[in-house]
């Protein structure tokens, strides 16, 4: 056959090609294997092994040094001795062991027999029962008989077994006794060297060796690789893939290997311990990793195991450059979820923590939310959860009684000119309206607003000042009476809740200010400014003081000249929006110049949304002008207009830029005046912008299952309601409360003069008393110059605040009468103790003026109506425990009374006795007690 058909080519040459192609294929396959087995995450795991080995080696060295060698040597010597003495009894042990071996056989045999018999018994029982059920009495009787016969056998076998076991136990016990000492010593030695042994094995385990190399070798790494992808599957959290949700899978711990372990705080980057382990990741924290994972808060692609695809987001351009260099990072352009830069992580908290005033443990977000509240974002932007937000600006319903139109115009030109710290943003003459034409229009608008406000506000009755007032006395009053609890004034900057009290002389009249100070609600029913219950003189003094300060520069600002054609143009612009040109023209013609001004003022107010912050007549029901921000944090980036600005296309970058320079996205754009961006300039600094950005990012809607999100219980809801009021009325401006230091307290050198701490107040004071007090404050600490103002709370708010305090202290609602029912003995003892402890020394009923505040404590006559009886006892026992740093000393150190002869020296009973006495304490008693100053010798 061969040779008959012609050959096409040289087979040998083709064989060469065959060989080459086979080999090259083999090589490519090997390359494929290598490519598959060298992955980025493996590199980090290897690094981690090296790092932890070095760490363990260091610890090992320390541990070796720490071991008490002398003790160890002594123990070892003892052990040798113990072994020797045990060896002496070796023959006995051997004997015993032989016996146990023999016993073991017997036990096995007996067990087998026992089990056999028992199984037959069980089986027979089944059949007996079956037959009985079917009324087959004959067979049943048969089985019953069998069982009866077998029962004693089983019993005896069981007894035998128990006997054998007992014998066995006895022998084992005697063997144990002989080796007891040696074992105990071995255990002690082990205990002593435990950490060394542990660390040695760790080091050994982490050292490179052949076994690990094989286990991690390509192709073989399916068996038991030491390098492994770590993942957490989150059962109740989901990634949203639009059609369907899919369980979140976080593999971050593949590289962040030390993240949930203590001891890696100083480790290099991916291995570092999480900075807040007590709050996150650890099993006992509120957010264990098993349940919440990583990307729930940080964002990013949890499933990814490489630096880039995990969608790490750099904090800054510098970091981006660094990452590019170190990790070959690039931006994931088509990723669904990118990581939040670390500075904005707190934005994720609100995914689960909704319905609260401030998210606990999220200071930046809390600050952002506070800023949003105080700057009144919700005035223009609808934000779910901020519906109850109060208007942050003053009411303008009666503005004509307060301000001059010129002042309004100057103010609107640039509010910061008058008061640098004002929260009123600049609306006009900003970047995109700074060209000449726009500026003219802005000037006209401002004049229009002033005209409108003057016309559309009602005057209020203003009385005249009773005296001229002394500015110096006024200054003292401002400092003493409590103004600083909200305002920056008199050179003291503790609070910036209310407006800074500067330049008022250039702004308001003495009559208005006097009326305002006497009763703020008279001018504005909605104001949060409380009534300080100032006397006429006091009000006059403060008025005199505050009006002393004038802002000359502001006063000298030249008022813009408003051209009538600009006014007409603007008016036409507004009119054309609704009407046909001719009708608009007709309408304009029908208006007088003043009317035209007022018209454009009205329209500008609508256009700029002034009513978002101020109550203005005619705009009570107008809808706010801003975009709704409820979902802003999850808004599609493509929906944000970046204009012509070069900026990272991320939400955070846009928000930050917008907050810093609200009109920047108009830059380079050609727009007509009324289409330009309107967001006013609040003059936020970098920190504020970052915090607000965090806040904006936190406004996202993600469907978190109910069981995963924080559900407020009734108590927490009541607390949140209280927190809202506390934030609204700035209680923490003066009082330390709810974990926040009273802001004004730092002004005081003597803490005794500062407004009282309210920590634990709910437990301390009677709820009914508190309600009355808040409604109508009375003096508790006469030495304090600070006054608890009258806020004129409504009933609902009062209840909320009282419940807030009670809930904070976890005081249950109780209808039980808790008035103490004292015995005569107790009263007597209480009186004695009261004297002995010289309580009256500090708790004076009518303190002499001029004494240091530290010397003074509240009047005890008030106790029974004000305080809770249980609290009083607890307080007397150990005041420091309830209020750290209090000046109230304890008289029962370490629970021991210094007066052993009273009531058996029992501290608790003595405290109760004092309490009982206090419940009978009245003004006469106080007077009597204050008289004998000489203490009794004890």
């Amino acid at each position: 056959m061969p040779g008959k058909s012609p050959s096409l080519y040289d087979l040998k040459k083709t064989t060469v090609w065959f060989a080459i192609s086979s080999l090259v294929l083999l090589i490519s396959l090997v390359a494929m294997v290598l490519e598959d087995s060298t992955r980025e995450w493996k590199h980090w795991q290897k690094e981690f092994v090296t790092y932890s080995r070095e760490k363990a080696e260091g610890e090992l060295q320390k541990a070796r040094k720490a071991v008490d060698q002398k003790k160890l040597a002594a123990l070892e010597a003892q052990l040798v001795e113990a072994h020797m003495s045990a060896n002496e009894q070796k023959s006995k042990v051997r004997e015993l062991e032989k016996e146990t071996a023999a016993l073991a056989i017997k036990i096995t045999q007996t067990t087998m027999r026992y089990q056999n018999e028992k199984q037959f018994q069980d089986s027979d029982r089944y059949f007996l029962e079956e037959h009985r059920l079917h009324h087959e009495d004959e067979q049943a009787a048969e089985f019953a008989k069998r069982m009866e016969e077998r029962a004693p056998v089983i019993d005896s076998l069981k007894r035998d077994l128990e006997g054998l076991q007992a014998e066995d136990d006895a022998r084992k016990e005697s063997i144990n006794e002989i080796t007891q000492k040696a074992r105990e010593l071995t255990r002690q030695i082990q205990q002593l060297t435990e950490s060394i042994t542990r660390l040695e094995s760790t080091v050994k385990k982490l050292s490179p060796n052949v076994a690990t190399a094989i286990l991690n070798a390509p192709m073989l790494d399916f068996m038991k690789p030491t390098l492994q992808i770590q993942q957490i599957v989150l059962e109740n959290l989901y990634d949203d893939y639009f059609f369907k949700k899919s369980n979140k899978v976080d593999r971050c711990t593949t590289c962040h290997l030390g993240i949930d372990q203590t001891g890696f705080e100083d480790a290099p980057k991916p291995f570092q311990t999480h900075p807040r382990l007590e709050l996150f990741l650890s099993a006992n924290s509120p957010h264990p990793a098993e349940t919440f994972g990583c990307t729930t808060c940080h964002g990013g692609s949890g499933q990814s195991v490489s630096f880039t695809t995990a969608a790490h987001t750099p904090q800054s351009d510098e970091q981006a450059a660094e990452w590019k260099k170190d990790y070959g990072w690039r931006e994931m352009t088509h990723a669904i979820s990118k990581m939040l830069p670390l500075s904005y992580t707190e934005a994720s908290c609100t995914k689960c923590h909704g319905g609260v005033v401030d998210v606990p443990q999220a200071p930046k977000l809390a600050e952002g939310r506070r800023l949003a509240r105080t700057y009144g974002c919700a005035g223009c932007h609808k934000i779910e959860g901020f519906e109850k937000q109060w208007k942050v600006g003053p009411s303008l319903e009666h503005v004509q009684s307060k301000l001059e139109p010129d002042w309004i115009i100057r103010w609107l030109m640039n509010p910061k000119e008058f008061r640098a710290s004002t929260k009123m943003p600049r609306i006009f003459h900003l970047e995109n309206t700074s060209d000449v034409k726009s500026a003219e229009k802005s000037d006209a608008s401002i004049a229009g607003i002033a005209a409108y406000l003057m016309k559309n506000s009602d005057p209020i009755a203003l009385g005249s000042l009773p005296t001229k007032g002394n500015p110096e006395a006024g200054e003292a009053l401002v400092k003493e009476v409590g103004c600083l609890g909200c305002h920056t004034a008199a050179g003291v900057d503790a609070n910036n809740f209310g407006p800074e009290l500067t330049g008022l002389g250039s702004k308001v009249t003495p009559e208005w200010l006097y009326a305002w100070l006497k009763d703020p609600k008279h001018y504005s029913s909605e104001t949060r400014m409380p009534n300080m219950r100032l006397s006429n003189e006091e009000a006059a003094h403060i008025t005199a003081y505050l009006l002393e300060d004038r802002n000359e520069k502001f006063e000298s600002i030249r008022l813009p000249i408003v051209k009538s054609e600009v006014v007409d143009g603007l008016a036409m612009m507004f009119l054309k929006g609704r009407l046909r040109y001719d009708d608009a023209q007709a309408k304009l013609n029908a208006m007088s110049a003043q009317e035209r001004l007022e018209f454009i003022g009205e329209k500008t107010i609508v256009h700029q949304g002034c009513f978002g912050c101020h109550t203005i007549h005619g705009f009570e029901d107008t809808k706010p002008i801003g975009t709704e921000l409820t979902d802003e944090g999850s808004k599609d980036v493509h929906k944000l207009d970046f204009g012509l600005i070069h900026l990272d296309h991320t939400r955070q970058a846009w928000f930050y830029q917008k907050l810093k320079e609200p009109r920047i996205f108009d830059r380079g754009k050609e727009k007509v005046y009324h289409e330009k961006l309107r967001m006013p300039d609040f003059g936020f600094n970098d920190d504020q912008a970052e915090r607000l950005t965090t806040f904006l990012l936190s406004l996202q809607k993600e469907d978190i299952p109910l069981e995963m999100s924080k559900q407020l219980d009734l108590r927490e809801q009541e607390i949140e309601r209280g927190r809202y009021l506390v934030a609204k009325f700035n209680c923490q401006g003066c009082h330390t409360l709810d974990g926040q230091e009273g802001k004004v307290r730092k002004v005081f050198d003597d803490a005794g003069n500062a407004p009282p701490l309210l920590t634990g107040e709910g437990k301390k004071v009677d709820g009914g008393w508190l309600y009355d007090f808040l409604e109508k404050p009375v003096t508790i600490r006469p030495w304090l110059s600070y006054r608890m103002p009258t806020f004129e709370f409504d009933e609902e708010s009062l209840t909320h605040i009282v419940r807030y305090f009670e809930n904070l202290s976890e005081v249950p609602i109780s209808y039980k009468d808790d008035t103490p029912k004292p015995t005569a003995e107790n009263i007597e003892a209480g009186k004695k103790l009261f004297k002995a402890f010289q309580c009256i020394k500090c708790h004076k009923s009518n303190p002499e003026p001029g004494l240091s505040a530290s010397f003074l404590a509240p009047d005890l006559v008030m106790t029974k109506s004000r305080l809770r009886p249980d609290w009083v006892v607890e307080w007397l026992m150990d005041p420091q425990a309830l209020q750290e740093g209090t000046m109230m000393p304890t008289f029962f150190y370490d629970g021991q009374s210094p007066m052993p002869e009273i009531l058996g020296g029992d501290a608790l009973r003595q405290s109760e006795a004092i309490r009982d006495y206090l419940w009978l304490f009245n003004a006469e008693e106080a007077h009597g007690a204050a008289q004998p100053q000489v203490p009794q010798a004890g």
Binding site: K12, T15, V16, F18, A19, S22, L23, L25, L26, L29, V30, M32, V33, Q115, Q119, M219, F222, Q228, I229, Q231, I232, V233, V249, R251, A283, N284, E290
Partner: protein, 185 residues
């Protein structure tokens, strides 16, 4: 098939020309020819491709519950009771004895069914083939060839019981004496 060829001695060797040298030399020679290289390389490449396919069947991550889990505090368990609370989620029984605890696998050593704990009879009974085990895990009836396996159990730093299912202890190998097979309390 392979037996077929050497059998009939009479059949003429059609494929092997007589001019070939003796077999052993031919083999060595073959290896160093191009054809030898070619086939060796081809065989190796095929083998490599097949083994990658095989390796493909072993995923690098598993979506199975974490083998290490936290079982709460020892006080949550009644002494002398077989605890069934982790049976469904982790396939583990925790048995609390006066001197400590151990974790038993719920997998029957016969064919992997799940036995049920019979409280009245104080035994585990496998529904598939009737194997029976004591609460200790020792098999005493049925086809099960060996006792139930125990898992590693220890006390975490926070006082919680940590069960590690990735480490098993088998009685027949004498592993029940190892430290983590029993948690002394």
């Amino acid at each position: 098939m392979s037996e077929e060829q050497p059998k009939p001695p009479s059949s003429p060797p059609a494929s092997a020309p007589k001019t070939q040298p003796p077999v052993s030399v031919a083999r060595r020679h073959f290896l160093f020819t191009w054809l030898g290289f070619a086939w060796t390389g081809f065989a190796a490449a095929t083998l490599a491709a097949l083994s990658t396919c095989l390796r493909f069947m072993f995923p690098n991550v598993l979506f199975e519950p974490n083998p290490i889990f936290n079982a709460g505090k020892p006080d949550d368990y009644d002494i002398g009771k077989v605890d069934l609370r982790w049976k469904e989620k982790y396939a583990v029984w925790l048995v609390r004895e006066p001197e400590g605890m151990y974790a038993l696998s719920t997998v029957c050593t016969h064919l992997g069914c799940t036995p049920s704990w019979m409280e009245s009879e104080q035994k585990f009974k496998c529904p598939c083939h009737g194997s029976g085990f004591y609460a200790s895990g020792i098999n005493f009836e049925g086809p099960a060839p060996r006792p139930l396996e125990r898992y590693a159990i220890r006390l975490g730093e926070d006082g919680n019981i940590i069960v590690d299912k990735s480490r098993k202890f088998q009685q027949e190998k004498g592993e029940w004496n190892q430290p983590d097979s029993f948690l002394y309390l």
